[in-house]
């Protein structure tokens, strides 16, 4: 049995609380701002604790008309964003799991060429290659389509890389045993690899869902119709720095509301991170 030293546990709690204070403070402070009036937000220092306008501000945001965001219904914005986030997360996980599987568990000509082809895409963000990429999108007729919003975002190597890292830790004995049992690549993948990858898939899903959810520049570039807008674009439409009044308290409320779905995903996916009885004895 591992010893439990109270001092160590206390120290762990202390570290975690300190970490949370630093990491979550910006969000907390945004929440504070969302419960205050615009005058309080505009005159720093804004107090560090929530104000009394929670119901008023959130009520106005949820039921008070949608003029600020280009006349698009919030449910449509959320539906669009959900489609993008889910498609990116699922698509990228499927694609990268397959390619990582190929690279790790097969030996074939040009393997290293493909490996490097995939891994050099770890670099070069969209902003830097915006004009040629846009031209490709137009040529393929992908402007204002869900495919255009999602497929190009699946082209990165991070997920493939993660699965490769994980697949390399699978003991050779397991593969040998599977082969002796007559299991083909497909059965091995389905019955052994997939269940073992659970925690990694869960972690990736959380990350990729959020990645898709928070996209801004790409959707902005490839959509021309307000009906294809995502919630983040709508949010940015509300924020103005120069020359226009911004309803800062409403911006803060919308920011918090836009956080709810990804946070739900985090919370719901959490149990996959928690080691179950079966896993611990693997």
């Amino acid at each position: 049995m591992i010893e439990r030293r109270p001092v160590g546990t206390l120290l762990a709690h202390f570290t975690l609380i300190a970490g949370i204070v630093i990491v979550a403070f910006p969000i907390y402070y945004t929440f504070v701002a969302s419960t205050r009036t615009i005058a309080e937000i505009l005159a720093p220092p804004m107090p560090l604790w929530p104000g009394p306008h929670f119901l008023e501000n959130y009520g106005q945001a949820l039921f008070g008309g949608l003029g600020r965001i280009g006349g698009v219904d919030v449910s449509l914005l959320l539906a669009n964003t959900t489609v993008v986030a889910l498609a990116v997360a699922v698509g990228k996980i499927v694609i990268s799991m397959l390619s990582a599987y190929a690279i790790v568990f097969f030996r074939f000509p040009l393997r290293m060429v493909f490996f490097w082809m995939i891994f050099i895409t770890l670099m070069l963000p969209v902003e830097v290659r915006i004009m040629p990429t846009y031209k490709v999108m137009v040529d393929l007729g992908l402007i204002d389509t869900y495919a255009g919003l999602t497929v190009p975002l699946m082209a990165s190597a991070t997920a493939t890389f993660l699965f490769r890292q994980f697949f390399l830790t699978i003991p050779d004995e397991l593969v040998e045993a599977a082969r002796i049992d007559g299991a083909g690549p497909w059965r091995f993948f389905k019955d052994i690899l997939l269940p073992l990858s659970k925690t990694n898939i869960a972690a990736l899903f959380v990350i990729l869902f959020i990645y898709g959810w928070t996209q801004y520049l790409w959707p902005l570039l490839v959509t021309n119709s307000n009906d294809m807008n995502t919630i983040i674009i709508a949010l940015r439409k509300m924020i103005s720095f120069a020359d226009a009044e911004t309803e800062w308290h409403m911006v803060m409320v919308t920011t918090i509301l836009a956080l709810v779905p990804p946070v739900l995903v985090v919370v719901l996916m959490q149990r996959w991170f928690v080691k179950g009885l079966v896993d611990s004895e693997k």
């Binding site: 539906a79 489609v83 915006i130 846009y134 570039l221 674009i233 509300m238 103005s240």
Partner: protein, 438 residues
């Protein structure tokens, strides 16, 4: 899952419906960068125009910040998918002018569209900025603002200064700032947009050249003149004040506004568009004209606008341009302009809208709103104050900001800073001009 599918179908349906109904009228894409309350204004204008006639349908599309919108427009033009109208910020004016083959001048659009267009009905300080040196209007001024001075009334009183007798010249402003600081206030004076206010408008307002060749209006490769003594002296004073803690640098764009809003700095030079936030914050403030130097001959001249204008892309069918011309005529209507001005805080583009606002008693109810207009129409613009046209204005501003920051950090003196800015900017302009000229 079922509900999710329903949402998908619903969105697909709405999409199909909007596409269908659009086929009845010619669709005119209008890409813009307007956020906040201004985004609403844009949507409303388009809606009103679309309801006022049935041949054309203006579709406003938000494309992000100003640079993001411009990039989207350029990428679309290169892919032959350009919108009809694109909103381009003031510093992008030179970029657009450099691409004459890509754009259709607004004057030409109006003429071809058969719409009457009298340039003398428009505020000269504003349309001058968006015209060629021959007076041909290239883009339609949509949102314009100009720098003015804001004063914290409480700070003035605490320093024994009279809020009814505001300082007019930079000497007086710096004096007042010192007194305010001495009275125990954290910071006397600051500014937003150091380049737009402290160099570009500084030159126009004091009627001194910012660059040769009428500030670049007559040439692709003007040479900057911001290292002339009047600029050097001004920035030397600011650097001294920074050392004394009287002036506090607040950043390259609008960040310093919050130093004023928080009560930290007592005097601020800022865009007239910033007045909305000051009012909303509930602080006691008053506004005055942008300060000038009395020793400059002809000062105060006129200030130049910031903001953005609407450009029309070339290569569209003639019928589309007719719609665009109609839309610009719609935007020029006095009620539309007067409302735009009064609601958004931007300057009116036409004299008629200004007169209308006066008649409405708007300026009595909203002191401070007339100040930028008075500055813009005070005098007929000269070669020094018509506008500034550099093919790579954003890059030049970066260079200027960098040298100013090194100056205020005490790493170099004003003379060195501005000399280096001129030298680096001139080289950058030459390189950029080569790409356009070849």
């Amino acid at each position: 899952m079922i509900r999710f599918k329903a949402a998908l179908t619903a969105s697909a349906l709405t999409f199909a419906v909007t596409t269908l109904s659009a086929q009845a009228a010619t669709e005119l894409q209008w890409w813009h960068a307007m956020t906040g309350a201004n985004n609403e204004t844009v949507e409303r204008l388009a809606k009103e125009f679309n309801e006022s006639q049935s041949d054309y349908k203006v579709v406003p599309v938000f494309k992000g910040t100003y640079p993001e919108t411009l990039n989207a427009g350029i990428a679309a033009f290169r892919a032959r998918q350009a919108p009809h109208i694109i909103q381009v910020f003031d510093v992008g004016t030179g970029v657009m002018m450099g691409a004459r083959a890509a754009i259709k001048p607004v004057a030409e659009v109006m003429k071809d569209g058969g719409e009457t267009f009298e340039i003398k009905n428009y505020l000269p300080g504003i349309v001058g900025y968006y015209s060629t040196s021959k007076g041909e209007l290239l883009s339609f001024p949509f949102n314009s603002s100009s720098p003015i001075a804001y004063y914290n009334v409480k700070a003035l009183r605490q320093a024994g200064l009279d809020p009814a007798k505001l300082p007019k010249t930079w000497h007086e402003v710096f004096d007042a700032a010192r007194k305010i600081k001495a009275s125990g206030w954290a910071c006397g004076v600051t500014t937003t947009w150091p380049t737009w206010i402290g160099l570009e408008n500084f030159a126009a307002w004091n009627n001194v050249a910012y660059a040769t060749d009428a500030n670049g209006l007559n040439s692709l490769t003007p040479k900057l003149k911001i290292n002339e003594p009047i600029f050097v002296d001004h920035w030397d004073r600011i650097a001294t004040l920074q050392k004394e803690g009287v002036f506090q640098y607040g950043g390259r764009t609008v960040e310093a506004k919050n130093k004023f809003l928080s009560g930290e700095c007592a005097i601020l030079t800022e865009s007239s568009g910033g007045i909305g936030d000051m009012i909303k914050s509930g602080m006691e403030f008053t506004t005055g004209p942008l300060p000038y130097y009395p020793e400059a001959a002809g000062a105060p001249q006129n200030t130049v606008p910031g903001g953005a204008s609407l450009w029309v892309f070339a290569g569209k069918p003639a019928a589309d341009y007719k719609g665009v011309a109609k839309f610009f005529t719609f935007l020029s209507q006095t009620p539309v302009q007067a409302r735009l001005h009064q609601v958004s805080g931007y300057l009116p583009v036409t004299f008629a809208a200004y007169e209308q606002s006066k008649k409405d008693g708007f300026y009595e109810k909203n002191p401070g709103r007339e100040q930028p207009i008075l500055q813009m129409i005070a005098k007929q613009p000269t070669d020094n104050s018509r506008g500034i046209r550099l093919v790579n204005m954003p890059a030049v501003r970066d260079i200027e900001n960098e040298e100013i920051e090194a100056l205020l950090a005490g790493k170099q003196d004003a003379k060195t800073a501005l000399n280096r800015a001129v030298e680096r900017a001139n080289a950058a302009i030459e390189t950029a001009a080569k790409a356009v000229q070849q």
